[in-house]
Amino acid sequence: MGIVTAIWEKWVEFKYEWLKITAAAMVSPLLYMIALGWGLGSMTSMDNIRYIDFLVPGLIAMSTMNNSFSSVATALNTQRIFEHSFEQIIISPTSLGQYVIGQSIGGSLRGIYSGILVLLIALPFGVSLKLSPIFFLVMFLNGLAFGALGVLAAILSVTHSDVGRFSTFIIAPMTFLCNTLFPLDKIPRVIQVLIQLLPLTHASSQLRSISYGQPASLFSILVLTAYSVVFILLSVFFINKRKNL
């Protein structure tokens, strides 16, 4: 029940600002496609593949991550620190575990929405990807992990600026490094190993493989699931343990 309530809450938020949310979710992928896909991409040669075809799955992973994270972290942190409406969630008998799962799913759905927008923006660029249910499953799991990370960031932040800092130190590096804009084999081996540990690396590589018609890796799907579970458990742990919410 708490899961449905949290998803309903995210839906109400979306309904109120859907136009702004849609426009904001389109700007950055569009700029990446023009600047990197068209501009830089015309000077880049890859094995049997146009750079923009390489880029778009990475942008979908990036956009899913960014929107899932920010839709949860910013909203929940505002409700906790400024609006104080999060107090009513804590006081209520709703299971906090269910509420965190619901928020994470709600964030993931927002991520999928932004991913679909990237797909639509890519159409005029002549990008055609092979879509399948598993492509959307990877988007969902990627969004779930970062939605749950958004809950964690919102709970651990002392001020609203802390959410921005969380983005700067955790989300922004992944945006650029995790197999999104360039293949990992172009960077030193040691850094490659570290980047392979991050969830977005698995999301972007899987979205790329699936969109090229290759099979998905069960290992990567399990890694994304594990990240989601760990972030959800940590969020519930900190909501229950914090002395001053």
């Binding site: 029940m1 804590i90 006081i91 008998p93 229950n240």
Partner: protein, 282 residues
Amino acid sequence: MIEIKNISKTYPGQKVPALKDINLTIETGEFFGLLGPNGAGKTTMIKLLATLLKPGSGEIYIDGDLLLRSNRNVKRKLSMVTQEFSLRSNMTPEQIMELQGRLYQIPKAKIKERTKELLSFCDLYEHRKKVCRQLSGGMKRKLMLCRGLLTEPEILILDEPTVGLDPFARRQMWDLLKQLNDKGMTILLTTHYIDEAQYLCKRIALIDQGRTDRVESPSLLIKELGSTAVDEFDGNHTKSRFFAVREEALKYAASLENEFVIRSTTLEDVFVALIGKKLEAK
């Protein structure tokens, strides 16, 4: 019944505790007030009851069950109206009520019925489709009370519920709270309006610097101080003296050279006398 046992709370980075060894018992069906000056620890107490804060030591029991953030059965009995506005600014009153109903697993039809009933009573029904940021402060305050009552709680915790309400709305709220208490709802109130506490509460606790001073009925506290007051204005200050019987007050007033007023003692006099004594002692 709410049992507060040996509760102490010190905020991180603070040396002075916000609450120290508080012990209170609030009976089922009681209308109980928590009074104290600014920074006395009232809101800390309320936040502990709402499980927003965890005590440094001590426990709170509701009908014998330990109150914890994870104890959902106990939390089902409680509802709280906070001092600060705690509404989602992008939600309408209708959506705020629905969210509350969903959080307490109330059937949809019941949420709809109670929403109409409560919003109509508080003159908010015609504003039900406006987002909260478009509502006035008084409307938001009333909406928060409606939200608190939607779940028909056994225990209602009110932290300064009438701040920002006009006198008419305040009295309307007093009537509603009296009716709910008459029906058996336990109500715990903190307020700066001491006339409000005097009118509504069967017992009050005076809290200052994190400690409870007195827990009594307002009438007994007034009787102890003296039920008749004489205010004498000497040109600079007003000095009040209290008398057990009116005749003594009249006799005293007859001896005064300055302007004076004879009146009934109020709970505010008790409050000022007790807190004032402590300040003088310092």
